[in-house]
């Protein structure tokens, strides 16, 4: 049995090798990339083409959408609702508001924390890094929900503030926008810290020392020396915070009563079965989101730092 295996395996490898040797280097490279290309095509590109197709199909009262039809009804409905300042505008606007607020908060905190990790050493450094990685390993739903007993009107924080005499009556953090923002910051913060820290970790720290020796105060050294060098990490952190927060589902779902775009789309699909509308709304929101990411790139790029995808 083992003899047969050890014979067929080398034979198979040899024939594979023969074919690979026969190819030129770039053909070989293509062959290696082929599975990834096929995967992205089958599981990403084609499904999205399907989504686009459904967004231009006519709605139907019998099926989830009328197959084989072409219509811009869903788009005119989405844009009509948006321009009329209806419920939809509120939902989409709210999603982008949350996305923006969360991104700003997250990047500021992440930059500070990544800097603290870079500056610390030994046990403190390990502890700080561990505190970033550990939340990533806990189920998102559960760690987000864990804010409820802390932030609710009868929760820990309100009770502390009340007993300290800082409040006369409890504040309703959850269910509320505050809760959604806190939960969403908590979800994206670890990724943002790691993105920025990975840049700071490889940064030449002598330059900061030099700035200090030349008389720059510490805050000034950070703003003028550390910040520009950290820019690639800051861009990555901003883009992922923004993209994930605009499409936020778990944090608003668990910690607030407000409708976000993601929750609304889910209702359209699973509740109302209005597939073309949901597809068109998804396409429009994606477009707006990519425009937002473009703005982030443009703004942050002006502060320096060359950004390279790879």
């Amino acid at each position: 049995m083992t003899g047969a295996n050890s014979q067929t395996l080398p034979t198979a490898l040899a024939s594979l090798q023969e074919r690979l040797v026969g190819e030129s280097a770039s053909r070989r490279a293509l062959l290696l990339m082929a599975p990834l290309i096929a995967f992205e095509l089958l599981v990403f590109v084609i499904p999205f083409a399907t989504l686009l197709r459904i967004s231009v199909a006519a709605p139907s009262s019998e099926a989830v959408y009328a197959e084989g039809t072409w219509s811009l009804e869903a788009y005119s409905e989405v844009f009509g609702d948006l321009l009329a300042g209806d419920l939809l505008l509120g939902i989409v606007g709210y999603s982008f508001l949350i996305g923006t607020v969360v991104t700003v908060l997250t990047v500021v905190i992440a930059l500070f924390y990544a800097y603290a990790i870079r500056r610390s050493s030994g046990l403190v450094k390990s502890l700080l890094l561990f505190s970033v990685v550990l939340p990533l390993l806990t189920t998102l739903v559960i760690r987000t929900y864990a804010f409820t007993p802390l932030l609710s009107p009868t929760g820990t924080i309100n009770e502390l503030l009340l007993s300290a005499g800082l409040l006369s009556e409890p504040i309703q953090f959850v269910p509320n926008t505050v809760g959604a923002v806190v939960g969403q910051v908590y979800i994206v913060l670890p990724y943002a810290v790691l993105a920025i820290y990975s840049v700071l970790a490889t940064m030449d720290w002598d330059v900061v020392e030099a700035a200090r020796d030349l008389g720059a105060s510490r805050p000034r050294a950070v703003v003028e020396v550390v910040l520009p060098q950290a820019m690639p990490g800051i861009i990555v952190a901003s883009v992922i915070s923004f993209a994930w927060s605009v499409g936020a589902y778990a944090a608003p779902g668990l910690l607030s009563d407000d409708l976000t775009f993601a929750i609304y789309v889910e209702q359209l699909i699973l509740g109302d079965l209005r597939y073309p509308t949901a597809a068109a709304l998804s396409v429009v929101t994606m477009g707006l989101m990519l425009a937002g990411i473009g703005i982030i790139f443009a703004v942050l790029d002006r502060f320096g730092g060359e950004f390279d995808l790879a």
């Binding site: 594979l16 290696l32 990339m33 399907t50 603290a116 990533l136 992922i240 889910e266 929101t285 790879a310």
Partner: protein, 276 residues
């Protein structure tokens, strides 16, 4: 001069207080989860009024939770294997393409396509894949969730591997070729030993991504394939008992064990640097 020193002392105190606050923010929800898992009452409150192990007993007797646990492991391992295979081969291929002085068009198109799924809101991905898998008859299978999670995990493995490969000395590979080793043999004997830590970290990341992901899983799973986060989501919206805390505590323990393992194989700082 002394005023400068005084100011720097103040800065130091503020700096420390600042990162201690962030540290507390990051760890507090986890403390809540672990502590409430030992509560006796049927409702989550922090801190609990009385402690017991009653919910751990409940967990071990709950076929549904154990099932979700198994489902999460199956999907996580499947995702880790598939994403690692795709990511390692793809990154290696692109490195070869650049090395061979090719025009790199395939690579240039591939990078944004691999990256893009990370930026698409999971709800849209979930809906898109739900519609698509319905058409191709994959609905309700483990495969559908593994494929969806691989879409998210592959970019991470891919970029970890790109950064690992970019640090590899490619002249070693040329040397192996010159000495007569074929492509497969030279990969196994020359490249693999140098990049195996990267592959391990990539696979671990993919597994963690899968363990975490719940929006796509929510759309794609059925009661028989539901993963831990999906069941937790359903449970949290119905009952507020500490069962979810118990499950999460188990996950924290497993994850810490996994980190300890990863730290043994490599070291923590190196891991975080690879995340870029």
């Amino acid at each position: 001069m002394s005023s400068t020193l005084h100011r720097e002392r103040l800065e130091d105190v503020a700096f420390r207080a600042g990162y201690a606050a962030v540290l507390a923010f990051l760890l507090l929800p986890l403390v809540v989860v672990v502590v409430t898992s030992f509560s006796k009452a049927g409702r989550i409150a922090f801190p609990p009024e009385s402690y017991s192990l009653v919910w751990y007993g409940e967990f071990l007797q709950s076929a549904r939770w154990i099932g979700a646990f198994v489902n999460s492991l199956v999907v996580g391992v499947g995702t880790a294997l598939l994403a690692t295979l795709l990511g390692v081969l793809g990154a290696f291929g692109q490195e070869l393409e650049a090395d061979a002085g090719g025009d790199g068009i395939v690579g240039a198109v591939l990078v944004p396509i691999v990256l893009l799924p990370l930026l698409v809101p999971p709800v849209i991905l979930g809906i898109t894949l739900l519609l698509y898998f319905n058409e191709v008859g994959l609905r309700g299978s483990y495969t559908s969730i593994v494929l969806a999670h691989t879409l998210w995990a592959t970019p991470l493995v891919y970029f970890v591997m790109r950064s690992v490969f970019s640090r590899f000395d490619w002249q070693q590979l040329d040397a192996a070729h010159d000495l007569g080793a074929g492509p497969v043999r030279s990969f196994v004997h020359v490249v693999l030993p140098n990049v195996k830590h990267g592959i391990f970290v990539g696979g671990l990341l993919a597994f963690i991504i899968s363990l975490q992901e719940f929006v796509m899983a929510l759309f794609l799973s059925t009661p028989s394939t539901e993963t831990i986060p999906v069941l937790a989501w359903t449970e949290i919206r119905q009952a507020l008992d500490p069962m979810v805390s118990v499950v999460s505590t188990f996950l924290i323990v497993i994850s810490v064990a996994a980190i300890a393992l990863a730290a043994l194989v490599t070291n923590l700082e190196w891991v975080s640097r690879q995340l870029s």
